[in-house]
């Protein structure tokens, strides 16, 4: 069991995270302070959900460059409902998420109708979505959010080190785990991602899977948006612009194939945690101001390359073991015959 865990991507990331946390704490200062951990849990939770929004389209071999744009739209729409229309927070968030799912589904539909690559479709549509938000909101933020929304971002769960935002992230991770392990829709998503013509010929309705996945992506982008809104305690028209890279890093670092057909939920969760702790860790290590970005990249690079090397070695050892056992058995048999 333990062997299998360290073989997997998530397992490797657990190890990496543990080692790096140890270094940050031992060499630097203040990394494990409750303050730092609280922030870390806030950010990792949201980053994980941003990654999930991308993960569900990567699963079907598509890309979604509009995760941030959908998140932004949901945030601004929810904010508007709460502030201007006066809808109750719960209802407003629900309406926002429905909008997010619809915006996602629309992209899937356009992709199917035009036959264009999802990269181009979502690139163009993200620009359209952001444009609409700009026009409708006039670039004005919503800053008077009810405490029902903002509390969520500032409260803690059980211990002061853990943000309440972890709850939605974990719930979604569990739901996705179930989706990909135990539901026909999740299996179909992976089948479409791994070999679309084969899946189609086997009776999987690709169009439904594509639209469904994009809708799910939009929904999750909306959740991530609401999480950011509650953390920042405002709905800002600039939200979502910095989601592009985390959206891809989380699933890919977590072990998903960019070409589709394989994803790892636990890997993605660990990737989000690992990723968010690098920046905080380097601050504790006192890296010179302008070298932070450089150091962050190098830590990421060294960590993943080392982990990969470790896993390859384990693989070799394991195969070697099987072979040796077989050879021994064969020699034994020979002796038995003789």
């Amino acid at each position: 069991m333990l062997g299998r865990l360290t073989q997997s991507n998530a397992g490797g990331l657990v190890l990496l995270t543990a080692v790096s946390w140890f270094v940050y704490q031992a060499v630097g200062e203040g990394f494990l302070s409750s303050f730092n951990l609280f922030t870390l849990s806030q950010l990792a939770a949201q980053t994980a959900v941003i990654g999930f929004a991308q993960l569900v389209v990567i699963a079907i071999g598509r890309l979604n460059l509009a995760v941030g744009a959908v998140g932004l739209s949901v945030v601004m729409f929810t904010g508007w409902l709460v502030e201007t229309v006066g809808v109750s927070p719960g209802l407003a968030v629900l309406a926002g998420l429905v909008l997010g799912a619809a915006m996602g589904a629309f992209m899937g539909w356009v992709e199917l109708r035009t036959g264009l690559h999802s990269f181009i479709v979502t690139l163009a549509i993200q620009s359209v979505y952001i444009g609409i938000v700009l026009i409708v909101s006039n670039g004005v933020s919503v800053t008077t959010l009810p405490s029902g929304i903002t509390d969520f971002g500032s409260k803690w769960l059980f211990v002061p080190e853990l943000s309440l935002l972890v709850v939605p992230a974990v719930a979604i991770a569990a739901a996705l785990l179930y989706l990909f392990r135990r539901s026909s829709f999740g299996w179909k998503m992976l089948a479409v991602g791994a070999n679309e013509p084969a899946a189609e010929l086997s009776g999987v309705r690709v169009s439904r899977v594509v639209i469904g996945s994009f809708a799910l992506s939009g929904l999750l982008a909306g959740v991530a948006g609401v999480m950011e809104m509650s953390r920042v305690a405002a709905a800002l028209p600039s939200m979502g612009t910095d989601w592009l890279l985390p959206a891809f890093i989380v699933p890919i670092l977590g072990g998903a194939f960019l070409t589709g057909g394989f994803v790892s939920i636990s890997g993605a969760v660990m990737a989000a945690i690992f990723l968010e702790s690098i920046a905080a860790g380097l601050v504790s290590l006192n890296v010179a101001t302008y070298w932070q970005a450089f150091a962050e990249a190098i830590v990421l690079l060294v960590a993943v390359v080392a982990d990969q090397a470790r896993r390859r070695r384990r693989q070799r050892i394991k195969t070697g073991g099987v072979l040796r056992a077989e050879v021994r058995r064969a020699e034994h048999d020979e002796r038995a015959y003789a």
């Binding site: 990269f119 359209v128 444009g131 302008y290 450089f294 690079l301 090397a309």
Partner: protein, 319 residues
């Protein structure tokens, strides 16, 4: 090629909207912006050819530019050796990417993301965010000088494009990259080395990224450590709009040139037609979408079918 038609169509539309569109200066503006975009696109194209990605195009570009700027401004190195050093650094950076991607077994996405971040970070750190200015006059005029409507730097872009096109069309190295991109297993079983093709592709990409960095530097008259920030999406969008397959195996250099001009035209046209700033983002997205859609042959078939359907409906609805 339908994409070329789109380019002409866009020009006609903008000419109708703005009388300034076809002025010498405006054509120069579009071409010099396209000159840079095309090289950025080619840098990504070369990694796409083997079916890989590079997220380090911007990082390598600005890093090379910063190195050139450092040598010129801080060290007083003459222009030619400084430029050569910059291109060498870019190529070496690409080579490192290639080796890491091909040998480590880590997804190229993560590798280039990290190295790209490292190069961008190093550029910021070396300059402490202040661009190097006071570049030689000849260099600056290479970036912004022109012969009537032709920017000088377009010459560099065209030379680069021709070289890349010939490489992918007729040189074994180019064909090997494409073979690996088209079907890596087949290529390997036929005795081609996937590893070497990937290293080649990334090195070429690094070289092209550094050329883009140098062009950007000449256009800005400074070595700006964040010059490549916007390049990420553009580097993908240009080859893909131009018809290069994201999955590898086929590239279109001509498509990159046309796509670069189309994007430059759209950006230019948005300002020329004095679109309300709040509408710019929306209109830009729509224009890109329409351009791409019209650029595909199958789209025309789609319209044909829609028109035919309309035609079938008409007699019935007409009295």
């Amino acid at each position: 090629m339908p994409l070329l038609g789109v380019m002409l169509l866009a020009s006609v539309v903008f000419t109708l909207i703005s009388s300034e569109f076809l002025t010498t200066f405006n054509i120069y503006v579009i071409l010099s912006s396209a000159a840079l975009l095309a090289v950025i696109g080619l840098s990504q194209l070369s990694v796409l050819s083997v079916g890989e990605f590079s997220l380090a195009v911007g990082g390598i570009g600005e890093f090379s530019a910063v190195i050139v700027g450092y040598l010129l401004v801080r060290r007083g190195v003459p222009l030619a050796p400084a430029l050569l050093a910059g291109l060498a650094v870019g190529t070496a950076a690409g080579f490192v990417n290639g080796v890491l991607v091909a040998k480590s077994g880590v997804s190229g996405f993560i590798v280039t993301l990290a190295t790209g971040g490292a190069f961008a970070g190093a550029s910021l750190a070396i300059t402490e965010t202040s661009p190097y200015t006071g570049l030689p006059h000849v260099f600056n005029s290479f970036g912004t000088g022109r012969l009537s409507f032709l920017p000088y730097c377009l010459g560099a872009t065209l030379v680069v494009a021709v070289v890349v096109a010939v490489l992918y069309r007729s040189r074994p190295a180019g064909r090997r990259m494409l073979a690996v991109g088209g079907n890596a297993e087949a290529a390997e079983l036929s005795g081609l080395s996937k590893t070497r093709a990937i290293i080649w592709a990334h090195s070429l990409s690094g070289l092209l990224a550094s050329i883009a960095g140098v062009i950007a530097m000449a256009q800005l008259h400074e070595a700006n450590p964040s010059a490549g920030t916007d390049w990420l999406i553009q580097s993908f969008a240009i080859p893909i709009i131009g018809g290069t397959a994201l999955a590898g195996g086929s590239v279109s250099v001509g498509g990159v040139l046309v796509a670069a001009v189309i994007l430059a035209t759209i950006n230019d046209g948005l300002i020329l037609s004095d679109v309300d700033p709040f509408w710019v983002t929306l209109v830009e997205g729509l224009l890109i979408f329409v351009a791409v859609l019209l650029g595909r042959a199958q789209a025309w078939r789609l319209y044909g079918r829609a028109l035919a359907r309309l035609g079938r409906l008409l007699p019935r609805t007409a009295p």
